[in-house]
Amino acid sequence: MTKAMWSPGETQHEHRESRGFASFDDPEALSYVDSNGKPNFALIQQTDEFRALRRRLTAFVFPMTVLFLASYLTFVLLSAYAKDVVSIKVIGVINLGILLGLGQFVTSILITLGYARYAKRRLDPQRKLLAEKTGVEE
């Protein structure tokens, strides 16, 4: 890894035609990678596999973000503006506010584990599928 970083600016790759230089690989894979091994990202972006992957990712990530932000802000707003509610004692002197705060810890862990599981089951296999179809390694 002694290679300096190639910054995106200097890789204004001349447009390379990938078809027609078939030499050693199967033609299906060749259409996504040019003869220098540079993937054709615009073409990959159009594949059904990539679109499905993007859809699956955003379908999880955005609603979850809204969910945890809403739950966190609810806790914050209740603590700031509904003092009487969060001050209700539940277990001994432990009040509802402390429990709601600890609840944030629990939901954080649940969402974290949920995402790790979703990524493993629904995202990573799709990524593998895409890599196989396009012949581009990760």
Binding site: Y72, A80, T112
Partner: protein, 526 residues
């Protein structure tokens, strides 16, 4: 009153820690030659290792001493503050970690400039990184001053200044000798020690009170002059409409700013791929949850066993809660250990910050703006090392100047700045195809600029007894934390500037590459 234990013991435990870690840093980084090694530890860490190091970046003096102290002094309100530190990791996990790992190499600028015009965007990204890191660094160095006053019983300003300078020099040494690999190892060692320390203290405390949190809190209320009211909100953040709004603003900066800090973002480059980056956030979340559960116990434990009045009267004020509790339950030895861990914490966090700032300057400004991407890697690293020394000197001066300032407040400003300048821009560039160079520049400078302006005209600068300049009054912005305004403002700036400027068809190919790489990881190792 023996509040500081034995300074000689504290100092020797600390010296032993520094020597051991320096040796490890030296051993770990004998082949620390390439840019990738220096900035990103050759991407050789595992997800678990990096996860512990990530949490290490957050278990700073401000959170360990500050939050346990906040709970010990203000009960519920201290706890309220700690919750955001855990929830914030979800932003990193869901929205940032993998896309960032897949599209960048060393700095935030790599990602932001990926499909934009290189020079202006890199310069903007570097400006943001340097400003954010500077605020955060001053906070840590000022914290070091206060901690030293407490733990080594050094009360003269000159003595503290000398010790801040020593802390600064040791930290620069870590960065120069170890690069990212060394810094990460220091962070891992420190995080493990700190976690062990707080877990054992919590278990001991819980055992003492029959494993009942309620029992600890009950006893705690008897040692606070607010009585049971300390378990309800309001002890710190107050009841006026503005103070409540200010708290909401702080909470927003906290949850959105943590995963936007440059030195945290840079950590995601130390792992080989996106799934390891994901794994590291999972690890970090677990350790953070355990840590903040422990601070809850320790905070109320300190209130119960030491008493709020004793804590606030001690040198170092609130921040002395955890050390005083350690002294109360474990004597001089435990206090020595806690002190050493707290020192180590400051050292490691400041070293990470120095690295982020120097990487940003060398990689974004020197290599890409000045040399237009044609810098020789060896020279680039030399520039990075030189920058680290300069940053170290600046932070020593800043830390001495800020000694005695409110640390938590400085940290919250750094978080507001990070959320305003970085978060909107990173999210747009990863998830919004239409986003362009104009939009990028507007969302970085709009967020950073509005945040800085609001800070200058807020009550923290002037017009109040607690201001930095209490004698003049040019404040017109009522909130102490600008996040509530500046974060949405940066999103708005980026959005409007993009739709009112031309799309960049010449960047379409790079945009396609970025989207495919960010989401699928395909081609990310190219």
């Amino acid at each position: 009153m023996p509040t500081t234990g034995n300074p000689v013991l504290n100092l020797s435990v600390f010296a032993v820690f520094v020597l051991i870690t320096l040796y490890i840093v030296y051993r770990a980084s004998s082949r620390n030659v390439t840019a990738s090694d220096y900035y990103a530890a050759g991407s050789s860490f595992t997800g678990a290792q990096n996860g512990v190091a990530l949490s290490g970046d957050f278990l700073s003096a401000a959170s360990f001493l500050g939050i346990s102290g906040g709970i010990a002094a203000h009960g519920y309100d201290g706890f309220l503050y700690s919750v955001g530190w855990v929830v914030a990791w979800l932003v990193g996990l869901l929205l940032i970690a993998e896309g960032l790992r897949n599209t960048g190499r060393f700095t935030v600028g790599d990602v932001l400039a990926f499909r934009m015009k290189q020079r202006p965007v890199r310069a903007a990204a570097a400006n943001a990184t340097l400003v954010i890191s500077f605020f955060y660094m001053i906070a840590q160095m000022a914290g070091a001053g206060g901690l030293i006053a407490l733990l080594l019983n050094v009360s003269s300003k000159w003595g503290q200044a000398l010790l801040i300078a020593v802390v600064g020099m040791v930290m620069v040494l870590y960065v120069l000798v170890g690069g990212m690999k060394g810094t990460t190892w220091v962070q891992i060692i420190k995080a493990v020690l700190l976690l062990l320390c707080v877990t054992l203290m919590s278990i001991f405390l819980l055992g003492k009170f029959g494993f009942s949190l309620s029992e600890i809190m009950q006893t705690a209320t008897e040692n606070n002059k607010l009585g049971e009211a300390v378990l309800d909100p309001g002890a710190k953040y107050g009841f006026s409409a503005m103070s409540k709004l200010d708290f909401v603003s702080l909470a927003l900066s906290l949850v959105l700013g943590i995963a936007s800090l440059p030195h945290v973002l840079m950590r995601f480059y130390t792992v080989p791929n996106a799934s390891e980056a994901r794994r590291s956030v999972v690890w970090a979340t677990w350790t953070m949850v355990i840590f903040y559960l422990c601070t809850l116990v320790i905070g109320f434990g300190a209130m119960a066993l030491v008493g709020t009045d004793t804590i606030t009267a001690a040198p170092g004020g609130e921040n002395s809660a955890a050390p005083l509790l350690a002294f109360r339950i474990g004597g001089e030895v435990l206090l020595g250990v806690v002190s050493a861990v707290a020192f180590a914490t400051i050292l490691a966090v400041v070293a990470g910050l120095t690295l982020a700032a120097s990487a940003s300057f060398a990689h974004d400004v020197y290599a890409n703006v000045i040399k237009r991407g044609n810098a020789e890697p060896r020279r680039e690293i030399r520039v990075a090392r030189l920058t680290a020394v300069v940053v170290g000197i600046l932070s020593i001066i800043g830390g001495i100047a800020a000694n005695g300032q409110n640390v938590a407040f400085l940290v919250s400003l750094a978080l507001a700045l990070a959320a305003s300048a970085n978060l909107s821009t990173i999210l747009y560039t990863i998830f919004w195809r239409r986003f362009n160079t104009t939009g990028t520049l507007w969302s970085i400078y709009g967020g950073l600029g509005s945040c800085l302006v609001l800070i200058i005209f807020s009550p923290v600068m002037s017009g109040a007894k607690t201001s930095i300049f209490p004698d003049v009054d040019f404040a017109w912005f009522p909130l102490g934390n600008p996040g509530l305004v500046s974060i949405p403002f940066s999103f708005l700036c980026g959005f409007l500037a993009t739709i009112f400027s031309k799309p960049e068809p010449e960047m379409a190919e790079l945009a396609a590459e970025m989207e495919v790489r960010a989401i699928s990881g395909i081609g990310a190792k190219a």
